[in-house]
Structures are given as structure tokens and as C-alpha cells.
């Protein structure tokens, strides 16, 4: 049965159009992290991995994987194992990821409890995949920065001392060119309420007692209530599940436990320091930013030492596939599947466990 491979901007596709069904396997360049799970699970050895370390470090421009359309039988095992959504198999237009009959890795998930979220944006900052967006709308400044600023024009000598001290640059004096008909160099003074924070510094520094400031926020007056989340500060934290790799950075930094992340595998990453050459290919490829070579604290330490944060790792295996010396071993003990059948599929999934 003839299979056709086509390239498009975002990747490639392989399809087979038979009498009864059309099967189409898609690969998306941008989603692929180069973990090599597909390579391990493919029952017909149709998948080849590119020079992952060099690609991750930006040294060569190549695809992270390639699929031989003559060997590929379009079974969909690779798509079912790809939890980065870089591979998808559509049978007559329907993705096998949506077909409950096929086993899939189901552990990977992220849930945000909006009621707990305080819109601090820290998750957005740390997310290594740019998968989180915090949309935060703040109530207008006028709701909280409010008061009265009065300049007594009879007392004011337009010296501008208040403007020199104003920390918010809110006092504006209108200097003009003195002329014989109007010899005064300043013709007006004004407090810009858009900038003024009613701090009363001008009131204190004015040697002529010409300024009076009333701050409505001050404890003595308290005419305005405190800001309330979801009343004055509204918004939503949105996660793009397609981009999310469930690394757990967001869960770790969330101050209110509003994010829960589930990981697909149980296990650990083991580093053989004898073999490690500190080339940093693993650091470059890791989709979770879970690996780093910290700066040596001790100056005598010449060789950089790789550190992995197991809590931020999803055990995808990209590091071990990219490592040129085989110094990293990813041990997966269990995988969560949504279905235990077909048996042949389950057996292939067991291949990615150790």
C-alpha cells in the first residue's frame, strides 16, 4: 500500500488513502521536544532521531525526528505516546487522541483553580514553555489614589520648591519668557491629579504654607476601601494545554496552591558524572528547564557539575537521547494509560519503562 509524505511549514505528514479509510500522521516541528519516546515505541523502526544535542544548541538546522514513509505502517503508537502533541494520527479525520479505544498516556495534566488564584503572574514568568497567560485587569488608579490638592494662590509665591521635592513629578509650573508687558517668569502652578499620590511632601516643604493636601487613603480618613481580588483586581490565568509539558514550575511557585500538575511517569533521572563532559546539550534540550550547571561556589572546582531538579522533570528522556556520552539515564517505573488494550499496544508502552 503506497504511502505519501508531504512537507508543510509546520512539519510533515504521511498518509495512506485506502478503500475504506484514510490515515494521516502529522508531525509538528514546534511542538516536538526531541524526547524520542516515539523512537522507542515504534514497532517497525520507522523513526530516526536527528542530531538532537546539536539541534537543541542551535548548531544545526535539522528536524528532531524523521519518519521513513516506506517503513511506517500508520499504526498511531507514536502519536499515542507523544504527550507533547507533536505527533497525531487521524483516521478518516478523527484523531486517535480523541478515540477512547486506543491507549494513551493520560497522566499529564494541569488544573488551575481560579477561585484560589491571586493573579500574581509568577507562574507566567517561570513557565519554560510560555504556556501560561495571566490576564489581569486592575481597577482604575482613581479608585485608590484619591484625595484633594489645593494651592492657595494668595499665599503661593510660585517659587517651585514644592516641584523640586515632589516624588511623583506632579507639580507643574508654567515658565514663560518675561516680557516688558508681562515681566513675571511664571504665570501658573498646577498639581496634576493623574500623577499626584497625595503624599503631602509638597505640603511639608512649602515655606509659605500655601498647599493643602487631603489623602482619602490615609488611616485618619479612610474614605476608600482596600483593594479586593476579583472585585478591583479581576482576571484569569489561562493555560495552553497544547504547550504545557506538566513540568511543575508553576505549581512550585504558586503562592496559593491554585495549580495542580499531574505527570505521566513515575521514576527518576540518574546522572553518571564519570561520563558527563558538561557539553550542556541536555540543558539546551530539556523542555522543562529541569537541568542546570550551577556556577561553582568553590573556585577550586573546575568541572561544572550537572544538577537535575527531579520535581520539575517529566522523565521524557530528551536529555538522555541528546547526551553524546550516554551519561544520563532516565528510569521510568510506571506510566498511566487510559486503556489496557490492545495488548500489543500495551506491550509497546512497556518498552518505554525500565
Amino acid at each position: 500500500m503506497r504511502k505519501v509524505k508531504d512537507y508543510f511549514d509546520e512539519g510533515f505528514l504521511i498518509y495512506r488513502e485506502g478503500k475504506i479509510e484514510k490515515r494521516c500522521l502529522y508531525w509538528f516541528k514546534d511542538s516536538c521536544v526531541g524526547c524520542g519516546l516515539c523512537y522507542d515505541i515504534c514497532p517497525v523502526e520507522a523513526i530516526k532521531l536527528g542530531p538532537l544535542g546539536a539541534i537543541a544548541k542551535g548548531l544545526v538546522d535539522a528536524n528532531k525526528i524523521d519518519i521513513d514513509e516506506n517503513k511506517c505502517v500508520l499504526c498511531g503508537l507514536c502519536a499515542a505516546s507523544c504527550f507533547f502533541n507533536a505527533l497525531d494520527l487521524k483516521i478518516n479525520g478523527k484523531s486517535i487522541k480523541e478515540d477512547s479505544r486506543y491507549p494513551k498516556i493520560v497522566g499529564k495534566d494541569i488544573n488551575i483553580t481560579q477561585e484560589k488564584c491571586v493573579l500574581c503572574k509568577q507562574c507566567e514568568i517561570v513557565c519554560p514553555r510560555d504556556a501560561i497567560k495571566v490576564e489581569r485587569n486592575l481597577a482604575e488608579r482613581h479608585k485608590f489614589v484619591i484625595g484633594e490638592a489645593i494651592i492657595n494662590k494668595d499665599k503661593c509665591v510660585l517659587c517651585g520648591i514644592c516641584a523640586e521635592y515632589c516624588p511623583a513629578d506632579a507639580i507643574e509650573l508654567n515658565y514663560k519668557k518675561p516680557t516688558p508687558s508681562d515681566p513675571k517668569p511664571v504665570d501658573n502652578i498646577k498639581i496634576n491629579t493623574e500623577k499626584c499620590v497625595y503624599c503631602r511632601v509638597c505640603e511639608f516643604v512649602c515655606p509659605h504654607d500655601a498647599i493643602e493636601i487631603i489623602c482619602y487613603k490615609c488611616p485618619l480618613i479612610r474614605r476608600i476601601p482596600r483593594a479586593k481580588i476579583y472585585e478591583d483586581i479581576t482576571g484569569k490565568t489561562i493555560v495552553d494545554k497544547n504547550k504545557c509539558v506538566s513540568c511543575g514550575w508553576c505549581e512550585f511557585v504558586c503562592p496559593t496552591d491554585a495549580i495542580k500538575v499531574e505527570k505521566p511517569f513515575d521514576g527518576e533521572v540518574i546522572i553518571d558524572y564519570e561520563k558527563c563532559t558538561a557539553c550542556e546539550a541536555c540543558v539546551s534540550i530539556c523542555p522543562c528547564s529541569a537541568l542546570e550547571f550551577p556556577k561553582p561556589k568553590d573556585k577550586a572546582q573546575k568541572v561544572k557539575k550537572l544538577v537535575v531538579n527531579q520535581n520539575l522533570c517529566v522523565l521524557c528522556g530528551a536529555c538522555s537521547k541528546a547526551c553524546p556520552t550516554g551519561a544520563i539515564k532516565v528510569v521510568r517505573k510506571s506510566v498511566k494509560l487510559c486503556n489496557e488494550e490492545p495488548i500489543a499496544w500495551k506491550k509497546r508502552f512497556e518498552k518505554i519503562l525500565n
Binding site: 495512506r16 485506502g18 490515515r23 505502517v73 499504526c75 503508537l77 488494550e341 495488548i343 500489543a344 499496544w345
Partner: protein, 153 residues
């Protein structure tokens, strides 16, 4: 030449059927030929020894390869099916535990259907052509000797 080979295959099958205790008439009916031809086969007057020796080689081929060959020699699908089944004494078996449901087999053949992650072989329409056996990437479709099937079950 294909005709001679076909006669050779028929002759070998005739021996096998005779061993099973079938009469010449029954064998002639099965192989769709005249009774006199069957008696020629049994007496050894026809076909020649070289032909029979060559058919022995075919008989020792993997059944799927032999099946492709027989279908190439004999255009009658029904007859080919009988010859293959008798020559190799095989059944087409689908191994659920090996199947990855890639659908390759059903694209090649009208006798195979995939329903709800089950492969259903319509044995009446199957001509034992062996294409599915050769195409299956994980050897989930196989010709298995009849004795071995019983041992398995």
C-alpha cells in the same frame, strides 16, 4: 511451464488427499479435473519427476510465499485456495496479542474487516493469497499448521 507446475502441485495434493483416504472421484471433484488425470498422477505417469521435485521445493517454502506463487500460477482463486490449504495444511490465523491495528491488511484485502479493534476474517471470501501475511508489520496474521493450532488452544 506454469501449467506443468500446476499439474505438479495438483499431483502432490492428490497424494496427500489419497493418504487421507479420499476416492479418486472425490479428489477429481475437489481439484476440478477429470478422474483419469487423478489416476495418471497416482500411477506416476504424469507429471515428470523434475516437475515433482520442483514442487517439493515449493512445498518447503514459507506458506505465505508459496501461496503467492500458487496464485501466480493458477488463476482460479477457489482452486488456488484448496491447493494451498492442502499442500501446506495451514489455516490463516489472526493473533490478537500481536496486532497493532495499523489497518494495512484490510487495505489489501476485501475479506478482512476491522471492527472495534478486532480483525474479522471472512474465511469464505479469503483466497489464502498470503498478501496480508507478508504485509503485516508485526506478524499478527500468520499461516499456521493445523496441528499447531490445536496445540495452542
Amino acid at each position: 511451464m506454469p501449467k506443468h507446475l500446476l499439474s505438479g502441485i495438483k499431483a502432490i495434493v492428490t497424494f496427500k488427499l489419497k493418504e487421507k483416504g479420499l476416492s479418486n472421484k472425490e479428489i477429481a471433484n475437489i481439484l476440478k479435473c477429470d478422474r483419469s488425470v487423478i489416476s495418471h498422477y497416482l500411477r506416476g505417469t504424469f507429471p515428470k519427476k523434475e516437475i515433482l521435485d520442483f514442487v517439493k521445493i515449493i512445498e518447503n517454502l514459507p506458506p505465505a510465499c508459496g501461496a503467492r506463487l500458487i496464485h501466480g500460477i493458477c488463476k482460479d482463486k477457489e482452486l488456488s485456495k484448496i491447493l494451498i490449504k492442502e499442500l501446506y495444511n495451514v489455516e490463516l490465523i489472526w493473533d490478537k496479542e500481536k496486532c497493532i491495528f495499523c489497518g494495512t491488511c484490510k487495505e489489501e484485502c476485501n475479506a478482512i474487516k476491522m471492527e472495534n479493534l478486532n480483525i474479522i476474517i471472512d474465511y469464505n471470501n479469503c483466497s489464502y493469497c498470503g498478501l496480508c501475511v507478508l504485509e503485516c508489520p508485526v506478524k499478527a496474521l500468520k499461516f499456521i499448521k493445523k496441528g499447531e493450532i490445536n496445540e495452542k488452544s
